[in-house]
């Protein structure tokens, strides 16, 4: 474990970017375990198009971090064999929508191997997927694909929203014996936090030491966090929308409404208890997420909140999601993505009193 502190050059920095935190997490896990292997398109010499794997080939050699041929099914499929052979592959899908060719391998094999073999062949694979919009990307570079993975039993779906979580959750994901689809909100790659990597390493070691078995260890990060406390309404969200929700909560505070923000952190496992506790306290909830809302993680959350918190609810649970359209061109994405105004509108729609009650269409 002591080797971990020597693995990146930025250890002394007090400001860490989301990207640097992910890079450090990879380096630290690779230093800790010789069977952790990083591969994908451009992850070697270039360090990945987002530089998340920067320096890993130089540090650990080509057998540990390497460029694959340009073939997503190949990347995911070979990871299955690597994991069967005792490795812990961390594979990078360059962009959300380019993971679709790998979906057959992910859904048919990665998700099912543990189950079909009665637990005899678990596959410890981490699939890193940069996802989401708001970066002005061209077509196929901004999809939010988390609902596909969340819909697939056998996969875990993690999505950090803070620099600390990026580091802590990626290390946990790599150590977990289940396959984890690790969704990285690419909009947040360049966000910074006043935290040092040394502190993060110490926190990881401390938390890791507390949990008893390897089984619990992965679960220790599978808890939602309350990103901001409030009394009047709960915004339930994850990934890139956490930042938007915090901004909305701030704006609502100016208007005298106290808004709580729950960051799920992991979509599967889903920490319903933290969500329910918050909604039971506030009595109102809005679910906020980037992808199209139809048949989505957001719909699932609404259903569960209605079911669990029915008697505490003062209003129906609302959703603010992207429209049910293919991801729009960069100049139009601002019309599609959940923004502060839409969230505030939804909060306004939560039947604060009888006279304000209106349907989403604006008709009473």
């Amino acid at each position: 474990m002591s080797t971990a502190t020597t693995t990146t050059k930025s250890t002394k920095q007090s400001t860490v970017t989301f990207a640097a935190a992910l890079n450090a997490a990879l380096a630290d896990e690779m230093a800790d375990n010789d069977m952790v292997v990083v591969c994908g398109e451009d992850v070697g010499t270039l360090g990945g198009v987002f530089r998340i794997t920067e320096g890993l080939t130089q540090q650990f050699g080509e057998s540990r971090c390497f460029d694959t041929p340009l073939a997503e099914s190949g990347i995911a499929g070979t990871a299955v064999g690597m994991a069967l052979g005792g490795a812990r592959p961390v594979i990078e899908m360059q962009f959300d929508a380019f993971a679709y060719p790998a979906f057959e391998q992910i859904a048919s094999h990665i998700a099912k191997m543990r189950n079909r073999t009665k637990g005899r062949a678990p596959l410890p694979i981490t699939i890193r997927v940069p996802y989401g919009g708001g970066i002005g990307g061209v077509e196929h570079h901004c999809d939010s694909s988390e609902s596909y993975y969340a819909h697939t039993p056998g996969l875990k779906v993690y999505t950090p929203a803070t620099v600390s979580d990026a580091y802590l959750m990626l290390r946990a994901a790599i150590r977990l014996d289940d396959p984890v689809v690790f969704m990285e909100p690419k909009k947040l790659y360049w966000t910074k936090s006043e935290v040092s990597l040394e502190e993060l390493r110490a926190e990881f070691e401390a938390r890791w030491a507390k949990v008893e078995s390897a089984r619990d260890q992965g679960e220790a990060w599978a808890r939602a966090s309350v990103a901001r406390t409030g009394d009047d309404v709960t915004l339930v969200t994850y990934g890139p929308s956490v930042v938007t929700c915090l901004a909305a909560a701030e704006a609502a505070a100016q208007e005298g409404r106290s808004v709580e923000v729950v960051d799920l952190r992991t979509i599967n496992p889903l920490d319903e208890d933290t969500v329910a506790a918050s909604v039971e306290k506030t009595g109102r909830a809005v679910v906020v997420a980037e992808p199209q809302g139809f048949a989505s993680v957001a719909s699932e959350l609404v259903a569960r909140i209605q079911q669990r918190c029915f008697h505490s609810l003062a209003a129906p649970v609302l959703r603010v999601t992207g429209f049910d359209i293919p991801y729009p061109a960069p100049m139009l994405e601002k019309y599609h993505l959940p923004n502060v105004d839409r969230i505030l509108d939804a909060i306004d729609d939560l039947q604060w009193d009888e006279t304000a009650l209106r349907s989403p269409e604006g008709v009473r």
């Binding site: 099914s73 499929g77 064999g81 069967l84 052979g85 619990d216 319903e272």
Partner: protein, 398 residues
């Protein structure tokens, strides 16, 4: 055929040093090494006679030695067991005691050779049709049949047997084979990996990706294609316009070979050499077995809709089992006593399967939730509790 300095300087291809080395050791050009021989490799005629060297189909650098008698007899034994299991399972499906069975009747020589060319340290990646290969790897018959009976998807431990779960999605397993070879290299092991696929499966994108990955990373993987002429109803002519599937290898910088898939001796010779070249760093390899599926695709298929009886009869004549039996009898390796002993062994396996399949398997419905994640999610725990309650009520009611 011999390499000259001039030819060498003319080459514009990327470097393939491992193949280059092998080509040199056979004294031929790299192109001649990568391309399969004209026709295919055959050592024993359909009548069971050892073919003269001129008729074995080999070209320089592609000559194969006849396996020794002990190897052949051991393989013949597996062949007889494989045939018996195929036919027993076919019957069990007809009797409604097995849900489905994709039989490899007619292809057993390829099945057996795929398993026997490997050591215990090696890995096999089979498809749904490759039950006989999995059996020949030493997995207990009932454990292999679990998935066809329908009580669990895979009944054996892949890691213990170094035999992956039989893959139903076509061709995906070839990439797993490549990845396994990568992990073995990382651990410093000299494992050889053999991935099996059908002729139809070679049209899938994963076939390309797997060959390309294996070649780029110079991995010891044998891609073993059983060309049994049909993918359910679609003939090989609709899968590819290439002269043979083996020819596809050269485009990846991989050596390809085509072998009579009903000739156990030729299969063992070709795959045996592929394994040892792979073990020494000379892989990957593509081996195409020219064979035929004698029965329908599965019980749900009506083969008379897409092929003629004459074609089936023609292949009956090339039956791998009869051929090996004639050869071994002629060579005095096989006599009535040995034959009886082998038949009995096969009957025992068949009886075991019949008996096991006549017993209703014990089902454990709550186990449905046990192997999804290392730790059950709260949602799964709740669903498990729901089923437990339903089962209890059912039990109370009955």
């Amino acid at each position: 055929m011999r390499v000259t300095a001039e030819q060498d300087a003319d080459r514009t291809t990327t470097e393939v040093p491992w193949a280059e080395q092998s080509a040199q050791s056979f004294g031929i050009t790299i192109e001649d090494y990568l391309l399969p021989t004209h026709g295919r490799i055959q050592l024993i005629s359909p009548e069971g006679a050892l073919l003269p060297v001129e008729e074995q189909g080999s070209t320089p650098g592609h000559e194969y030695p006849m396996p020794d008698h002990e190897t052949l007899l051991n393989a013949y034994r597996q062949l007889v067991i494989g045939r018996r299991v195929n036919d027993q399972n076919h019957a069990l499906v007809r009797q409604g005691r097995m849900a489905v069975y994709p039989s490899s009747h007619g292809q057993e020589a390829s099945e057996v050779a795929a398993a026997l060319c490997l050591d215990a340290r090696d890995w096999l990646f089979p498809t749904y049709r490759d039950t006989v290969a999995v059996l020949a790897r030493g997995v207990a018959p009932l454990d292999v049949m679990t998935s066809f009976r329908g009580d669990w998807h895979c009944g054996y431990d892949p890691i213990e047997h170094r035999t992956a779960a039989q893959s139903t999605p076509l061709t995906t397993q070839l990439l797993h084979a490549v990845g396994l070879a990568q992990a073995a290299r990382l651990k410093g092991e000299d494992t050889v990996v053999l991935g099996m696929v059908g002729d139809g499966g070679t049209s899938e994108g994963d076939f390309h990706e797997a060959l390309n990955f294996a070649a780029v990373f110079k991995l010891p993987v044998i891609f073993f294609v059983q060309n049994n002429k049909y993918a359910i109803s679609v003939p090989i002519a609709k899968q590819t316009a290439a002269p043979s599937i083996a020819h596809k290898a050269v485009g990846y910088g991989v050596a390809g070979e085509r072998v009579d898939g009903n000739d156990l001796a030729a299969l063992l010779a070709v795959l045996g050499r592929a394994v040892s070249l792979c073990r020494e760093g000379g892989g990957p390899f593509l081996v195409e077995a020219d064979t035929y599926r004698m029965q329908a695709h599965t019980n749900a298929d009506d083969a008379t809709r897409y092929r003629h009886d004459e074609e089936v009869a023609e292949w009956q004549h090339k039956d791998p089992l009869k051929r090996m039996r004639s050869y071994l009898t002629e060579a005095n390796v096989l006599n009535d006593d040995v034959e009886t002993e082998i038949t009995e062994a096969a009957e025992n396996v068949a009886r075991g399967l019949r008996e096991a399949m006549s017993v209703q398997p014990e089902l454990h419905p709550l186990e449905l939730f046990d192997h999804v994640y290392t730790v059950q999610t709260p949602q799964l725990a709740a669903q498990r509790a729901q089923l437990a309650e339903e089962l209890e009520r059912e039990g109370a009611g009955s």
